[in-house]
Each structure stands twice: as C-alpha cells, then as structure tokens.
Amino acid sequence: MAELTSRGSGRVAVLKPQVFAWVQDYGVYAAVLALLLFNVLFTPHFLDASNFRTQLVQVTPIVIVSLGMALVIGTQGIDLSVGSVMALAAALTVLYLGYGWLPALIVAVIGGAVMGAAGGALVAYVGVQPIVATLALLVGVRGLANVLVPQLVEFRSPGLIALGSSSVAGIPVIVLIAAALTVIVLFVVRRTTFGRQVVAIGGNRSASELSGLPVKRVLLTVYVISGLLAALAGVLATARLQASDPTSLGLFIELSAITAVVVGGTPLTGGRIRVLSTVMGALLMQLLAATLIKHNLPQSWTQMVQAVIILAAVYATRKRGPDERHGGQ
C-alpha cells in the first residue's frame, strides 16, 4: 500500500514541491540578496549611508502596517482599512497636538485601535466577510479623517518633529521603532498563547473551536492590533512629513502591505505567519522600486514588475502536492 505512485512521474512530483517549498520559504531572502548584490555592483553610490537611510525611512510605514496585516492574513482575513486608519491617526495627532505630542500620539493610537475593533467586531461577531467589513472602514474612516482635518496642516511640535527626523547612532528613530515593533510582533507570534491561537484559527477554524479556543475574541484582537499598528505608522509618517495630510496619507498602503505579506510567503489561506519574511517582502518591493528608479526606469515599470512578483509569489504559495481531498471513502 505504501508504493502506489507510479515510478516515473513520482520523482518529478516529489521534486517540484521541494523547489516550490524552498521558494516559498527563502525566495524573498534570496531575491533581496540578489537585488542588493546587483546594486552594489551596478548602482553608483548605492552603498552610501544616506541612500540606505532614505530607503529605510521610506519603507518604515509599510513595514509597520504589514506586521498587522500579516497577523490578519494569518487568520484567513484581510484588512483594507489600514491606509484610512493612518489618515485618521494623522488627523487626530494634529488635533490633539496642543496637549503635547505624546498625548496626541496616544489618542491617535487609541483611535486606530477603536477602528480596528469595529472591523474586528463585524468580522468575528457579526460574521461579515473581512473584505467588506474593512472596505466599509476604508471608505468611512478616510472620510472621518478628512472631516476632522480637511486639508494639509503643518505643525511645529519639536517633540513630534524630533520623533520623525532624529537619529540614534546614525539610525533614524522611526526605523528603530519599526525594528522594535517587528521584534515585538515576532515575540507575540512565536512565544505567546495568543500568537499560537491566531495561527491555529487560520489553519483550521473548526478544529480550533472544537479545541476550545476563544476564536471570536482572538479574531477581534487581531484586527485591533492591525488598527493600532496602522495608527502608529500614521503618526510616524506624519512626524516625518512634519505635516498632517489626511487626504493622501496612507492611500493604497493596504495594497503595499498585502503585497509585502504575500511576497514574504505568508499564504492568503491562513494558518501561517512569517514575520521576518513579511518585513523582507516590504524591503524587496522598496529595493526593487529604488533599483529601477536609479537605473532610470520609470515608475510604470516598477508597478508592472510588482504585479508579476505578486503573481509569482502567490503561485508559489498555492496549495501544492497531491490533492488531499481524495483518500478515504
């Protein structure tokens, strides 16, 4: 009964999934390395510290947002509202800046968490599909941000400006914050009960329910975290811009974040969360854009190449191997 596969095709069938599995696990690291190598060899001034810093600062909001997105996607969900939540955070920050930058930051982050809770409640308790629930938020929250702050507002809060532009040991503070958040999310996913419950629910919801996991509460929490991180990204982006711009801040960042997660090899079908790879995914897309621009290839190329990479990444993370629906009966 063990040797049922025919011999000739068997080897190919075994080999191919291995290649796919490798690409899924390490493809993004290899791609980042290859791009780095290419740039070191062919791009002038690539190794300048200032260039590195610029790239990192630019990618920071995407990295932070995609950390939350990775958690949501790990539960088989999706969060389209992150860009709008960033805008809301920008609006709230500038509104409450009079009380000092720290209270403003806290209010903004709470606002983001509340929005996440709204989306999470719709998903977990009402049973609305994640796409629609967070689409409603995408539309409504962006509007709310614009109602609160109708146009771009510049500000002069030294504390907030310092948050956005100062560096420690040559590394921008916001990059350090993103790194710290990455470590925290990594810890949550790997070392906490909650983190394990998140992947279990994404991997098999009915088994998780039968195992007594608090499925609804975990789902709600995941969306709250996503909202919270998006809000934080919004505050940091605002601090860097030295202006609050609810109209355009975070537009389409949900697409970049989903791309980062997917390119990092986290399957959209849930049950697996790859935190570092997600960060790598965001870096890859940033590096790609930078490389193409440095070599005088227009933005249009970047987007088309991104499209191809997304398709390739998802194709590689598709369910592989023999069809498991067979067997039995």
């Binding site: 409603a136 539309v139 509007g143 389409f252 933005q299 987007q303 088309m304």
Partner: protein, 326 residues
C-alpha cells in the same frame, strides 16, 4: 411546528428576501423624498441630471462588477482599467472615432481575458490576481502616458460627441448606461450565461455537476468586467475631451461598495443589476444631499457611505440568517 408558526416564518422569510433584493431601491426612494422635502434645490431637473450623469460611469463599471461578484469573484483592476481606457481612447481618437472606441475595448478586454484565464486555470484567488492586475494596468497606463505627464486630448469630434451630446438634458452616457443595464439584466436573468453565473457563484461544485462550464463562465465574466471598465473610461474621456491619468483611482472600491449596497452578496450567487444601479445612485444621492447642506464638506459623504455600507452588510448577515429555514 404548528401551521401558524410555519406561515409566520414563511412571512418573515419573504419580507427579508424582499428587503435584501430591493432594499437599496427603497432606501433610494426614501432619500429622494426626504431630500426633496428638505431642500428646495434638491429635486430640480438640473440637480437630478448632475447626479445621474456623474453616476453613469460608475454604474457601467458596477454592472460588470455585479457579474463578477455574483460569480463568486471580485475584480480590483477596474479602476485602473477605467483610467487606461480613457487614456487609450484619447490616444486613439487621433485615428478616428472607431479606433478611439475599439482600442480601449480591445486592450481592456484582453486584460480581463488574461485575469480570467489565470483565475479559472490556476485556481489563484481573484482578489490577488486582480490586485496584480490593478498594479500592472496602472503601470501600463503610466508607460503609455509618459508616467502620467502626457494628457492626450480627444481629437475626434464624433467621439467627443459620444460623451458630450445630450438628449433631453441628459448626456449620451446616461442613455448608454441605461441600455447596458437593460442588456445586462436580460443577460443575467434570461440567458444560459446568466444562469451559469448565478450557479457557479452559488455552489461551484454543484454547478460543475449540473453541467455548467465553470472555467469558461469565469473567463467570460472577467472579460465582460474588463470591457465595461474600458468602455466607461472611454466615455469619460469623450466627456472630458481628454484622457486624464489621475481620475479613477480607487474606483474599484466604489464599484464594490455600490454592488454590495445593492444587495449582491459578496459570497456570490445572489444579486442583481437593479440593485447595483440603485447602489450607485444611492452613493450619488448621498453626495448630492451632503452638498445641499452647505456646512458639510464632501468628506462627510465618505463617512456616510462607509457607515451605510457597514449597516448594509450587517443587515445582510441578519437577513440571510432569517432566511435560513430548516
């Protein structure tokens, strides 16, 4: 279960079905009445025309999206295709009206075909495939417009007239939209293709067993969505006399919102054209009403739309629970 209980559940089920199918039309009617009573300048022909005209392009896209969503899929690429269609139409207008119309249709149709093939053949999620489509098409649009720097002007008069000509105070695109909606209704309700779309969205496996050509129907649906998005873009270019490269971004989300508000389930298998058109008009009327209240900015429209969308999906969940009889 006693007879009275049966008839009671049956009545509740019928009411909820009615609400689901025609809720958007009812709310639309209600809003129009309220608006007319509250604001003198709301129920004027000019205002009505402006709402209808500005809604027509989104309506064309929403018609295609309705097919896609009923089939159980989603199409995120329509916003980009709308822009691409506009740019191609304006570019093509230098070779005459026919090229101006056919070029965007051909290109957008091919994009839809490719997406449909990938979705039907590889089994990849429509969300991701069309997300890649969104990015790729936007890149294509930027590539042919010098990174958005070049705005082609519509050279051909006849083509421009397609977007600007009026009958009885309403421009041609409105009539085109109405015609398309009628054709789409017949397609959906009265042809084998329409039945196939409902069937694969309702239960793909069962549909396959009942002899529905699942893959072919999926491809057809995405081609249709691409064609309609391209057409909407072309008509918009004709109306504006130029292929504007910055409009239409995010339009896919408006279209999805309108379709969902119109009572089409995002899970597929149920919905209709009337609802989607009502959903589009509803968004337009909300905007118009907010404009009537002078003190509110247009951002309020988004807030109201978002809240409304959330209410609709919650209501749909509750209604579909009420309809589940044993």
């Amino acid at each position: 279960m006693s007879d009275t209980a049966v008839s009671e559940t049956f009545r509740r089920e019928q009411v909820s079905r009615l609400l689901q199918q025609h809720g958007a039309v009812m709310v639309l009617g209600l809003l129009v009445i309220v608006g007319s009573l509250a604001f003198d300048s709301f129920a004027t022909p000019a205002n009505a025309a402006s709402v209808v005209v500005s809604s027509s392009f989104l309506a064309i896209i929403a018609i295609g999206m309705t097919f896609v969503i009923i089939s159980g899929g989603i199409d995120l690429s329509v916003g980009s295709l709308f822009v691409l269609g506009g740019v191609l139409a304006a570019y093509g207008s230098q070779y005459g009206a026919l090229v101006a119309l056919l070029l965007p249709l051909a290109v957008c149709g091919v994009v839809g075909l490719l997406q449909g093939l990938v979705i039907a053949r590889t089994g990849m999620a429509p969300f991701i495939v069309t997300l890649a489509g969104l990015l790729g098409v936007r890149g294509l649009m930027l590539a042919i417009s010098d990174e958005g720097a070049t705005t082609y002007l519509v050279e051909d008069r006849a083509f421009a007239a397609l977007g600007q000509g009026e009958i009885a105070g309403l421009s041609y695109p409105v009539y085109i939209t109405i015609a398309l909606a009628l054709v789409a209704m017949v397609l959906l309700q009265r042809t084998g293709f329409g039945q196939n779309v409902y069937a694969i969205g309702g239960n793909e496996q069962a549909a396959a067993l009942m002899g529905v050509p699942v893959a072919r129907t999926k491809v057809q649906v995405y081609v249709m969505s691409g064609l309609l998005a391209g057409l909407a873009g072309a008509l918009n270019a004709a109306r504006l006399s130029s292929g504007v490269t910055i409009l239409g971004i995010g339009l896919e989300l408006d279209a999805i919102a309108a379709v969902v508000i119109g009572g089409t389930l995002l899970t597929g298998g149920a919905g209709g054209i009337t609802g989607s058109v009502a959903g589009v008009l509803l968004l337009g009327v909300i905007q118009s009403l907010i404009n009537q209240v002078g003190s509110l900015t247009s951002a309020f429209q988004q807030v109201v739309s978002g809240v409304f969308l959330a209410l609709v999906v919650v209501a749909q969940r509750l209604l579909s629970k009420a309809q589940r009889l044993t």
